[in-house]
């Protein structure tokens, strides 16, 4: 590894000191570095612009959580004042870090608010999975368009494989906050990529097993699926597959 020269070390120290000052709004620490004639109030304008941008990004990133709090803007402001943004952190990474910070610093978060946080975290996970498996994400979304064409054929055609949406994760909801009227908590909900958005879907136990089974065995024919899910009637399983295809959770190819 190359050893830094004295000039490089000094430059590094200067940039580190300036970055620390900028991220903390420390005008006194910036002042000695300013060129002659520069006004410190313009540095303050720079700070304000930065803090606003970070706050705005977090507010946009976490609309779902925002809806569950009366004072989310204040919480964001407290978070951005207390913490620094990690180098190259995306809005998602900062959002996830903020949720961690909230859980440490706000012990009175209600169970309803926790449900919103759980789904928000699941959305972050979906985004991370989509980034890692981009090609699989695009390939799956491309074959979903064939759903209508294959829906009448997959029952008997062993060459048609049922594919599970690879971009999904589970979240557990413990209150009615985000559930429909006829759904009782606790519920495991699937959060998944649908086109360029994220959607959620709830399942009873057989449905959950169906998803986990497909995740385990990979693309399979309807006959193979039936073999693994003997507890479900043929017509019910057929109908379930069609429903999942319409939801964008499975695709045929």
């Amino acid at each position: 590894m190359k050893t830094e020269t004295k000039a490089e070390i000094e430059y590094r120290q200067q940039i580190e000191a300036l970055t620390k000052a900028f991220t903390r709004g420390d005008l006194d620490a910036v002042a000695p570095h300013l060129a002659d004639g520069m006004k410190i109030e313009y540095v303050e304008m720079f700070f304000e612009g930065n803090f606003e941008k970070r706050d705005d990004k977090l507010e946009k990133q976490m609309e779902l959580v925002d809806e569950g709090f009366d004072n989310f803007k204040e919480i964001i402001a407290a978070y951005t004042s207390a913490t620094q943004l990690a180098a190259e952190a995306t809005a998602m990474i900062d959002g996830e870090a903020m949720l961690d910070w909230m859980e440490e610093n706000y012990p009175n978060i209600t169970d309803q608010q926790k449900d919103r946080i759980a789904v928000q975290r699941a959305r972050h996970r979906v985004e991370a999975i989509a980034r890692k498996k981009r090609i699989k994400h695009i390939q799956f979304q491309e074959i979903t368009s064939l759903g209508e064409y294959f829906q009448d054929q997959f029952e008997h055609n062993q060459n048609i494989m049922i594919h599970l949406n690879p971009i999904h994760t589970w979240a557990t909801l413990n209150t009615n906050e985000l559930l429909e009227e006829d759904e009782d908590p606790p519920q495991d909900v699937l959060v998944y990529a649908h086109g360029s958005d994220t959607h959620t879907a709830n399942f009873e136990e057989p449905g959950k097993r169906f998803i986990e089974l497909l995740a385990e065995i990979g693309p399979c024919s309807f006959e193979e699926l039936k073999f693994h899910m003997l507890e479900i009637e043929h017509d019910d399983l057929l109908e379930f597959c069609r429903d999942l295809s319409n939801l964008g959770l499975i695709a045929f190819a």
Partner: protein
Amino acid sequence: MLPHIGYALREQNRYILDDPSITGVELTFERADDPLRVDKYIGDLDIDYVSVHALKLSVGSPDLPSIEYLEALRSIAVENGAHSISDHLGFTRSGKNGEEIGHFAPVPMTQAALDTCCRNIEYIMRYFDPLEFYIENVAYLFALEGTIDEADFLGKLLSRTGSGWVLDVTNVYANARNFNFDGYEFIEKVMPFAKNVQFHLAGGFYDEKAKMYIDSHSHPIPDGVWDLYRHSLKQGGDKINAIFIERDQNFPDENGWRSEAAMVKQIAEEVLGTSATQR
């Protein structure tokens, strides 16, 4: 030859990008980089010249940018058929595993900063080859203490690295107005060292309280920027590959979008010659 002319792509102007004046488009990386997106950010647009504009290469940082960021940038560029990638002459973080400022700060105009920026840019250019790389002069609210004049710094950087230059005409206009130097001379001094050039044009506003012109990308291009643009065209000539108009808020109606692009093209034709054919 006439440069490619177009807009920094926003959802608000996507519908006018089929305008006959428009043959280029600039994609902002942070907008295009959506892991859930299934289609190309540029969509079905048939555009001759595409550039990807980043915010976080942070060429003024003591450490090289991460491979992850470079690869993500390249992926977006390749996916959208881009010819080039650009970023700003500034720093957004202290270094690897450091802290992120959230916006780029101007570098101190010193020899150490120049050496660091050159090292980083050379690395970036090797990584993105054969895609071209351009570095943009920034608008600043303050300058850090330095030993080199800004135009000299930029000239030396372009000369040493062979990087292209995004001449942000509005940034030169704003800085010249706010810090009392001659923007025309600035451009004359730097241009000889730029191998290839792209322009940015935008409109801002004068903040009466702060007594500063702010490059907010929120208004039509003002007369002062049009004049500097003409001067820049004369200085750059055949080196100019593309001209992008930036607008981020307070969006115009359809006529506003189209007429501004048409004006950019008209002036380019006047200065570079009406017989100039588009690249």
